[in-house]
């Protein structure tokens, strides 16, 4: 950061158009239309090693697969039993986790849980049958290697015909790169959690708000946030202040380009391989048809924009009508963007839209508006969201809301997620949620949680574009055995932003035991987000069904981005035994302890 500050800000955010010091990558990697390397078949050898890279004008060492960031696209075929030999050429242990893949537990690649990790010089052989098709990805599960480049696309080709057609297929892998040592980033956050937030409220924004809302109202607003020791500008913990956002390993100025022939339908496989960045993706001028979410087919949804949480994937089909269209992926906090171009030939570019205004968190994100309807009355039309209402309230109304709120009640929190089915529900860590408030690891307990599956998310709802929501997702085919769950476990997503502590139920991984699930059990996980941030929660080894009201066509996902003050649930059948990781996929949250083992036995 300190050194990076000395670079021109624009050059830093945009990256370098010219490439210097990329010897190890070779010239082909740096051409505008550089295709990602691809490996296919049922036997693939991969080597993980240090690789010199330069995304910002400063030479750095990445942790790369076969010398590439991202790693090569692996194309495997459904029905094959694949053998993946991974050799460690680093001087520290490493691992590869196959994200979203249904496989035997020892092949899952999580050091600590499923094996020791791959030691320096060792080769580990992953072997498993491919039981699914779609767009997935892989990444390291060791230390901070995911931040330093160890991730890549994993495409599983279906045996049968796909229920949609396209003539062109491009992977679009989004990620974030920092020239800093990731351990320094984490350490900085422990000392000062707003270290990377250069969009805080200042005297200037105070004056602006006072002119707009009146002095008294503005003072009241500042007092309200100040009393809670929270900042409404907390949108992302790590921002463009240190990150350069990449599309297929290219910073914006290098303009990754995907080619097409006019008239073609183009399938874009979006993968968020970032460590900490949620992206809002759109292609100005084009409607996108979403056909897959997290690798599983969904009923086509026509949208203009979608939010992709860390570790999620979305496949969309577009028919470009111009010679060049910009793929624009702005970070949720609007501190930067990744960008590329769909073009009929190399060297073309389309206008890059300005970034959207930066949103602010509201009291609703703190779980603090008692009269919010449980189902937001919002649809794709782009009307104002419940979440935005609070920002328009006068401070008097805010005060009224705050005094109306009852203290968190255990009873209120423990009834089942779905009204109507009275299945036994308990806290996953065996705690009483009423005891969470005041703990060092908990800075907020949402008093009012609600269903936010119908919302696209902060900064998107009401922006005039048609945004994807989780409620829009419907599985292409009904599930064969869509039985109701027999038990529910509740997890509170908790944190303390000021101390940069993250966990479940107020506990870090090292303070909690495993979450026990019986082999074969049909179980519901209820996620209650008490924090003011989104958390992309990922369960290893399973595709779970998000309970979004779609009957026997609940969408399958491996990662769900849970909004602040949201209460949502998913079900799955625990049919594969083992130690399965369950964690927030924001890398620094996970390393801080927002991680559990789901022990299926």
């Amino acid at each position: 950061m300190d050194k990076v500050e000395l670079l021109g800000r624009r050059r830093f955010v945009e990256g370098l158009a010219l490439t210097t010091g990329l010897a190890a990558l070779g010239a082909s990697r740096t051409r505008a239309a550089a295709p990602l390397a691809m490996l296919r078949g049922d036997r693939i050898d991969l080597a993980i090693g240090p690789t010199p890279v330069d995304f910002t004008g400063r030479a750095r060492i990445a942790t790369a697969v076969n010398g590439l960031v991202p790693g090569p696209i692996l194309r495997l075929r459904e029905g094959d039993t694949v053998t993946l030999n991974v050799t460690n050429r680093l001087d520290e242990p490493t691992s590869i986790h196959w994200h979203g893949i249904l496989l035997p537990n020892p092949m899952d690649g999580v050091p600590g849980l499923t094996f020791r990790g791959i030691m320096p010089g060792e080769t580990f052989t992953y072997r498993f049958p491919v039981r699914q098709a779609g767009t997935y990805w892989y990444h390291s599960h060791s230390g901070m290697q995911e931040q330093t480049g160890l991730y890549g696309p994993l495409i599983l080709e279906p045996r049968g015909r796909e229920p949609y057609s396209y003539q062109r297929d491009h992977v679009v892998m989004l990620s974030d790169w920092t020239d800093e040592d990731p351990m320094t980033v984490l350490s900085n956050l422990k000392q000062q959690s707003d270290y990377y937030n250069y969009n805080q409220r200042t005297l200037g924004t105070f004056a602006k708000d006072a002119r707009r809302d009146g002095l008294g109202a503005t003072i009241d607003d500042r007092l309200m946030w100040g009393k809670m020791r929270m900042s409404p500008t907390d949108l992302m913990d790590v921002s463009g202040a240190t990150y350069t956002f990449l599309m297929n390993g290219q910073p914006p100025a290098r303009n990754w380009t995907g080619l097409f022939t006019p008239g073609e339908k183009v399938r874009l496989r979006f993968i968020n391989g970032a460590s900490m960045t949620t992206f809002d993706v759109r292609i100005p001028g084009l409607t996108m048809t979403v056909v897959q979410a997290d690798g599983s087919d969904v009923e086509p949804v026509e949208i203009e924009e979608f939010r992709i949480g860390v570790a999620e994937t979305y496949d969309v089909i577009v028919t470009p009508r111009q010679d060049a269209c910009t793929i624009f992926a702005q970070a949720q906090d609007r501190s930067g963007y990744a960008r590329g171009t769909l073009a009929v030939r190399e060297g073309l570019a389309a206008p890059i839209p300005p970034m959207d205004p930066r949103p602010l968190r509201t009291m609703a994100d703190m779980g603090m508006n008692h009269d919010m309807k449980s189902t937001p009355a919002v649809d794709k039309g782009g009307m104002d969201m419940g979440g935005m209402d609070m920002s328009k309230m006068t401070p008097e109304e805010h005060k009224h809301h705050m005094t109306m709120m009852a203290p968190p009640s255990h009873d209120a929190m423990s009834h089942g997620a779905k009204p109507g089915d009275n299945i036994p529900t308990s806290n996953a860590d065996g705690i009483d949620p009423g005891t969470l408030a005041g703990q060092a690891g908990v800075d907020n307990v949402a008093m009012q949680t609600r269903d936010r599956l119908g919302e696209a998310g902060i900064g998107l709802d009401g922006n005039g574009r048609r945004n994807l929501t989780y409620r829009d997702l419907e599985a292409r085919r009904p599930h064969r055995r869509s039985l109701p769950p027999t038990r529910a476990l509740e997890f509170h997503l908790t944190g303390n932003m000021e101390r940069f502590l993250w966990g479940f139920d107020g506990k870090k991984f090292s303070q909690a035991g495993p979450i026990r699930v019986a082999l074969g059990e049909r179980i519901r996980f209820v996620l209650i987000n008490d924090t003011m941030m989104e958390h992309p929660i990922h369960l290893h080894g399973y595709l779970f069904e998000i309970e979004n009201g779609r009957g026997d066509r609940l969408p399958l996902k491996h990662t769900v981005n849970v909004k602040p003050a949201e209460r949502m649930s998913f079900v799955f059948t625990a049919d594969v035994p083992g130690h399965w990781a369950f964690h927030c996929h924001l890398l620094y949250h996970m390393e801080a302890g927002m991680f559990r083992t789901v022990l299926v036995a």
Binding site: G112, L113, S187, Q191, T202, V442, E498, G513, P514
Partner: protein
Amino acid sequence: MTRRCTAALAALALAALSVPARAQTHEAAPFGMPVMDRHVFYHALLDELEGRFGSDQSFRWEGEAWGGTDENRFWLKSEGTLTNGLLDDGRQELFFSRAVSTYFDAQIGARYDLDSRPGRGWVAFGVEGLAPLFFHVAATGYVGGDGRLAARLEGSYDLLLTQRLILQPRLEMNFYSQDDPIREVGAGLSDLEAGLRLRYEITRKVAPYIGVSYEGKYGRTADFARAAGDPTDAVRFVVGLRLWL
């Protein structure tokens, strides 16, 4: 009294050492820790590294360093003012701190007044954290030899004028239960220091600043100062650098 403090210190240290049940961690992760949630971090912050210019000139430092986990940390705090070759207000402290609530740490440790005057040792205990409205506050109590008691209150606030230009008001007060003529401090509120510093964060870790500092001596402490021919209050212009590592 000292023995009671030692006992409290021992209890806190034991609490710190009570590692979470190893068995349950092993059950959750049979091959070792999958995440680094017990990692030990270190930081040092030199809040004040400044020249003070008024009727006299002096050099002042105030800083702290910590190392530890999320819950348990060791702290070193140091301050002192060097005027005409004489070191004054030299306070060195070592604390063990534990996160006891959402925003506050409890601290226990020792202080030694180390400067050009005869030294004094103290057992120290206190709380430090973030009060509502983002005020950083610390309150520390001290127990010294001969039944001496002392207390210290500190507070500061960061007012962002822009994203990088930050105005920081700061207040520090010291109280003593007994006169201590050798160190020229008197019973009651002994001294107060109020500062207003405007820093520019070139980066978060490097921030030059300018400001003003007021130092006042009160009650018996002021009497001691007058008797020694020293001023009882002073306003000085300060120029310095705030650094953290």
